[in-house]
Symmetry: C2
Subunit: 263 residues, 2 copies
DNA sequence: CGTGCCAGGTGCCTT
DNA sequence: AAGGCACTTGGCACG
């Protein structure tokens, strides 16, 4: 770990080079201009910003406010540093698509380099997937007697979240949204319908599963005979929990009856 | 500006509190766990991370790699710090939607606080806009004799990028894409067509303007009689440059002929 | 405030 | 590479 307060440009460039070589993380605070050129282009004039360069070749330039960086570069960039006209230039070039981020610093308040030890696994309790899992495990969440035939089923314009048959033999097509379902969700489902046909003498029942409906979509849904079944992430998680517990119990019972061998 | 290397928890908390109070930016490197709960939830175990808290109430937790933060909170959070069980807890609560980010640090490598002076304006050279500007300035880029009537014209499902009349009096509807135009662009244009009618005895000519076409869209375009006019960002920028130069020349000439007064 | 739409979206997956 | 789509998407404009 290195910490420099108000380093000279040469000193900063040296430390920066060493750190990037060693694939360490670098954070700097400097007065700088930033320009980007690639898929589009951008420019920002003089100002003090936090600059982060990571060992995997990505860059973040943050201003004093806002969640998002004002400029950035994704992983996999090649770095290049140079001193020119009393300024420290840092270029981060991404090969494909070709785009270039250039940072020109004229006064460096601060520079530090780190080697972060971090082996932990990140666990996201993702929402739409949990809802889908819950429906697959417990189709009764949607309605009694529903049988799931397939999920992520490919149709021409995309993938049907859940595909099944109801107790009357009608085809059921489910589109899941974790957020209040808006016009986009309806449109998506309508698209799928064009490519799905029911069994002889049966219907196709499109169903949107979401915590709630956005305001303007009810008319369209009625016109297209799309049903709505409310389901929250919360409820889905509870269902999965219960499932897991009963599965464990079943497993335990099984093991009690016929202890498994060590493999 | 404050820079602390390996501060104690109490010292860190004090400095943190002062900085947040003063709406300064804080960067820390610490061994920590992070948990998030709100729209969904997440957890990550012990590891060293870069933590950034900004004066507008947003948080970033960055690992040693990846462009994206592993955890975060958008602007507008309320911060809360506490020492508990030999750990420094930082909570960032966002009121609406209610979500909570909790960072528990047990060893702080480093903490610094800054007040970034940055008044610069960020300028994005958005490409689609540049392409549109170029077409408005020089309709001949599309074809000889095109006259532009309107742009960002409102029709029921959205906005027509450019709307005009060709040399034969046919209505021209242009959809601009900065990337290779795919099925989405075609669909969008088809939507607009439903709400546009040509002049008496004339046609409506839908045109997609983009650097190129995606693979599968040609059949649809032929079926819907949609034309394609290739135009790159590059070419658009050149056109605008030329325009600007000739405008400047015209301005200079004007000034030469009739010098302006000082205002 | 909710809803819709754009972004240098990003990331992940499949063909 | 291209297409499809979710994301703690974030962000802005607008009714």
């Amino acid at each position: 770990m290195v910490v420099l307060v108000s380093p000279g440009l040469d000193e900063a460039r040296l430390e920066l080079g060493k750190a990037l070589e060693a694939r360490m993380m670098v954070t700097m605070v400097a007065n700088c201009t930033v320009s980007y050129s690639g898929r589009t282009g951008s420019d920002i004039g003089e100002g003090e910003r936090l600059i982060v360069l990571k060992g995997d070749g990505c860059v973040l330039v943050h201003r004093g406010r806002d969640y998002q960086p004002v400029n950035w570069q994704p992983s996999g960039c090649v770095f290049q540093t140079r001193i020119e006209g009393g300024r420290l230039l840092v270029k981060a070039v991404r090969p494909s698509p070709l785009e270039t981020l250039t940072i020109e610093m004229d006064r460096i308040e601060f520079l530090s380099t780190f080697n972060l030890k971090d082996e932990a696994e990140f666990i996201l309790h993702s929402s739409e997937e949990e809802m889908q899992k819950a429906i697959l495990a417990e189709p009764d969440l949607i309605e009694q007697g529903l049988r799931v035939i397939d999920f992520e089923k490919k149709v021409a314009p995309g993938f049907v979240d859940v595909y099944g048959v109801d107790s009357q033999g009608n085809t059921v097509v489910i589109e899941i949204k974790k957020d209040p379902a808006g016009a986009a969700a309806v449109k998506q489902l309508v698209e799928y319908l064009k490519y799905l046909s029911p069994a002889e003498g049966k219907k196709v029942r499109p169903i949107i599963v979401a915590p709630s409906l956005a305001k303007g979509v009810l008319p369209t849904m009625e016109k297209m005979k799309i049903e709505f079944k409310p389901l929250t992430l919360q409820k889905s998680l509870e269902t999965l929990q219960k499932r897991m517990k009963s599965d464990q119990k079943a497993l335990k019972g099984w093991l009690g009856d016929a202890p498994s061998e060590k493999s």
